[in-house]
Symmetry: C2
Subunit: 264 residues, 2 copies
């Protein structure tokens, strides 16, 4: 047992990311705390992207918006720096991945607006508490992510397909998994689909578009949740001049607790 | 009993408002349908107001945003016109009420962005279904609204006090009222306070800032929900050059059903 004083807290992960000592995925880290997807855009696109999030609350549940000129998410992660405290970033230019970097200090400018979006990692703690094991945590791999044939609701220049995460759940626990995740609309909420992946345009569960494949055992069915990587699929389609995101699985961890987001 | 074919639907109320035949409050009308507060602002203030709503989801739960150049809330009220279909509008200029009008056609321009915000009227149907009577519906008056001492979270130029509605609820039904309204975060959700009104800066329940007073009977306690009139208090403080809202109690009724907004 680790004594309380040595328990890892979100700030520890952020500082280790900032100093370059944590550069890997954050799945399963600091359970119970809200991890977030990032999308950073020029101010002139901020209204349309905020509207895109409002119109697509399942893939893009807004946790905090950091206005231009600021780099500290003061509400959910005071003392942090959005430019350094995620383990890895992706830089999209004109819809293409230009680079993956450990900080964005050199490309940052004070006209950028930062969006923190809820992440399904964080309701996984609630599923585990409910006795529902999460395969990719047990195997210490990144959650499998798939680009679907479900179109998001467009806003301004932003449009594209919804990205989902998949978790195999034992048949007799699917109802409970739906109930548990429904309490957390701020981190994607209830699943958007379960069962036959072809219905949502996924051809091969062994070949995720991002992340790592996981085994689906006898008696399990695949359950799909909307994913905060959706803005990256939108960036590819919509081609903003610049859009910076986290690298899939390499989340920005806030001080907010999952329970703070529970609606009941 | 009215046969189904003669049942009033949201479109009927909107058309009657458009033609000038319905000019009064909408409390208790078309139960089960989502009624909305309106806030209409110039495009240059739209990002900050959208951010204000994101930061204040209890008083300002976003139902739909109609982009500049458009006047039809196509998702939640197709065929409607935001400029004519509420029974009464308020025009604020520089933080002061300039006029109350039945349509805004003459002051509309195609650079305006319209925000539809959820309204507590609509969860009242759920409360009534749960056996919790609503006093102001029984008395056919407008719900009492109060300006509190609770500050909203500011965004850009927008700041101001939260406005609440009050309903007297029998002590033994308060827990149930909290549960029922918690299901509907999109229409203000759970109460923000109950009991002693002085705690939230309300001095006299008999003198609401807007709407009509209601009797509080023995064994009842006042229960307070965040109110979509909050943007009007914000307009007074923040003084945008122009902001058009509905007139308190005179809501824009959508085709959305309350159950569409239930999170579980």
């Amino acid at each position: 047992m680790t004594p309380d004083s040595e328990m890892i807290i979100p700030r520890d992960v952020r500082m280790r990311a900032r100093s370059g000592h944590h550069t890997t995925i954050t799945a399963g880290l600091v359970p119970g705390y809200v991890q977030t997807n990032l999308a950073i855009l020029p101010r002139e696109l901020a209204f349309d992207f905020l509207l895109f999030c409002q119109r697509n609350p399942k893939p893009c549940p807004l946790i905090e918006v950091v206005e231009s000129g600021l780099s500290e998410p003061i509400v959910t992660a005071p003392g942090s720096d959005i430019r350094t405290d995620a383990p890895k970033y992706r830089v999209f230019r004109d819809g293409e991945i230009e680079s993956e970097v450990q900080d964005i200090l050199s490309i940052w400018n004070d006209k950028m607006v930062s969006f923190l979006l809820g992440c399904s990692f964080t309701f996984e703690a609630a599923l585990i508490d409910a006795g529902i094991p999460i395969r990719h945590i047990d195997t210490e791999t990144n959650v499998p992510m798939f680009i679907t044939n479900i179109e998001t609701n467009p806003a301004g220049p932003f449009s594209g397909p919804m990205v989902v995460t998949m978790r195999p759940i034992q048949q007799d626990k699917v109802v409970r998994a739906i109930q548990v995740s429904s309490r957390f609309p701020g981190v994607h909420g209830a699943p958007i689909h379960f069962g036959n992946p072809a219905i949502i345009g996924i051809n091969d569960l062994d070949k995720p578009d991002m992340g790592d494949p996981v085994e689906i055992k006898d008696g399990e069915i695949p359950v799909f949740w909307a994913c905060g990587v959706t803005p990256q699929a939108v960036a590819i389609r919509s081609k903003p001049s610049i859009m910076i995101t986290h690298s899939p699985g390499h989340m920005f961890i806030t001080d907010l607790k999952d329970e703070d987001l529970a609606v009941i």
